[in-house]
């Protein structure tokens, strides 16, 4: 799905988290929102997911105005920073949550839900952990379960907030490839937030560098490396 961000701004009280920013994300792209903390990248992601509403501006999904859509109507697969798995549910129940939450008319049968959950567990290469609780999983496993849970609702896009932030370096590298594979298999427009320039450069097709609520540069990783548009970008990507 093509995502168009049109002059979006966001203020919390008197502090501006986002100055009007515009961004066009082509369908099927894997995009990184890169910047230090306080740059507004997470706010922008949450606005896309419908968890925050912009102070001004519009969001368009495939050319349709989606600014007023509720979080449920967005159908955005969202992966949270600390994964926010439901701690009192098994992995299976976590992944099935979105399907069980559908209105009766469109809710799949129990058998169909079980089939889909099993398929998702295979996709994240953890076929045997359905009966476990989140507290019994490693950080990397939790991240993949969160991804499967987000994918279960057949989302129109995938939004990830610092998906590798809570992991150690080795697992981080493995899971980067995992996300790339899942993106390529599903073809979903994917936006992830990161403060790690290496991660953004290695994984994304398109990198959006942000600072202080503004977009500093949008470009392919190689272009940003070769021609940083501002002093901030130059500093940040060589840091």
């Amino acid at each position: 799905m093509h995502i168009e961000i049109d002059e979006i701004s966001k203020a919390f009280g008197t502090t501006a988290a986002l100055h009007p920013v515009s961004l066009s994300i082509p369908s099927g792209a894997l995009v990184a929102l890169l910047g230090p903390s306080g740059s507004g990248k997470t706010t922008l992601l949450r606005i896309l997911g419908g968890l925050e509403f912009p102070t001004s501006g519009r969001v368009l999904f495939d050319g349709q105005d989606a600014t007023g859509l509720t979080v449920q109507e967005r159908r955005a697969g969202f992966v949270f920073q600390s994964y926010a798995l439901f701690r009192h549910m098994t992995v299976f129940e976590n992944i099935a949550y979105g399907l069980n939450a559908r209105p009766r008319a469109t809710r799949p049968t129990k058998a169909e839900i079980a089939r889909r959950v099993t398929k998702l567990l295979e996709l994240i290469q953890l076929p045997d952990i359905g009966a476990r609780y989140p507290s019994q999983l490693s950080g990397g496993q939790r991240q993949r379960v969160a991804l499967a849970r987000a994918l279960a609702i057949e989302p129109r896009m995938l939004l990830l907030d610092e998906p590798f932030g809570a992991l150690d370096a080795k697992v981080r590298k493995e899971l980067r490839q995992g996300l790339r594979d899942i993106h390529d298999t599903t073809g979903l427009t994917t936006v992830f937030v990161t403060h790690d320039q290496e991660e953004a450069m290695e994984l994304a097709d398109l990198v959006v560098v942000m600072s202080m609520g503004r977009i500093e540069q949008i470009g392919k990783p190689a272009d940003i490396r070769a021609r940083p548009a501002t002093a901030f970008v130059k500093d940040f990507i060589t840091a």
Binding site: G49, F78, F86, R149
Partner: protein, 287 residues
């Protein structure tokens, strides 16, 4: 003494054995004098003339009415306070708004206001001499010196228990799980039942048990609003006081023993639940 093997390493937070044993002994002495001895005294006094006499006094109509009234009051006020407590804690922890600190202070108010004052406030508000109270009496719904007043007083005094228990837990858990459920398409109501409530169930249970213990034992506020009419508005604690004033010590202490047993039952329930669900409690904290 200069032998290296003589050196004993002690953790930074560890105290010398003498200090430790003194502190432990002090704690036990305090407990024995302040808690165990009075508890035992209640049962000893109740059984002073034998178990038969104690049971006979409990079988008297006044005692039975008091027990029935107290259980009814608890059965009504505790669930209502559980609902209000959950609503207040939910509102305070999941939303940002002006005057939040003020609202939290307000919830704590019953802890700091004397129950007698609370009872007087209810009498002033709903008594027959007030406009509202007079109108309600005229409609045939008296509040003061009747069950509604006792329920109001009990609810006022026990209001903070559930909310106070829930607020720290809900602050610690944050909003991420609720947000995740919303992105997965769940309605707000569904999120509450399937995510919020299961996550707070143990804290809620603690709050409800504490609330219940206090609801059954409340004296001051209830004494003021109830008028202590025997067989009508006398609860267990107020009946105990009246019996004691009349030098009916076996009857007073038998009823006191019943109240104590109800409290111990509450504690026992709490401990049992902790033991049985220790793993789930731990899982809740580990994640």
């Amino acid at each position: 003494m200069s032998d290296a093997t003589q050196i004993r390493f002690r953790a930074a937070t560890e105290e010398s054995p003498a200090t430790r044993w003194t502190l432990i002994a002090l704690a036990f002495a305090g407990l024995a004098i302040l808690v165990f001895a009075p508890l035992i005294a209640v049962f000893v006094e109740a059984l002073a003339d034998g178990a038969v006499e104690a049971l006979r006094s409990l079988a008297s109509p006044d005692a039975r009415d008091a027990i029935r009234l107290t259980l009814t009051i608890a059965a009504i006020s505790v669930p209502l306070n559980a609902i209000f407590g959950v609503a207040a804690a939910w509102f305070i922890t999941k939303f940002d708004f002006r005057g939040k600190a003020f609202l939290i202070t307000l919830i704590d108010l019953p802890f700091s206001v004397s129950p007698v004052v609370a009872g007087l406030c209810i009498v002033l508000m709903f008594g027959a001499n007030s406009a509202l109270g007079g109108w309600l009496v005229a409609q045939g719904y008296p509040i003061v010196f009747a069950m509604p007043g006792i329920i109001l007083a009990t609810m006022f005094v026990t209001f903070p228990f559930v909310a106070r228990e829930l607020i720290p837990v809900m602050i610690e858990q944050g909003r991420a799980e609720e947000e995740a459920a919303l992105t997965l398409g769940a309605s707000g109501w569904r999120v509450f039942w399937t995510v919020t409530l299961p996550n707070i169930r143990w804290a809620l249970l603690y709050g409800v048990l504490l609330c219940n213990a206090r609801a059954m034992g409340e004296f001051g506020a209830v004494a003021v609003v109830s008028g202590k009419i025997r067989g009508e508005t006398a609860t267990i604690p107020t009946t105990i006081e009246m019996l004691y004033q009349e030098y009916l010590s076996v009857a007073a202490f038998s009823l006191a023993a019943v109240l104590t047993l109800l409290a111990l039952l509450t504690l026992l329930l709490k401990t049992l639940l902790e033991l049985r669900h220790a793993d789930q409690l731990a899982a809740n904290h580990r994640h």
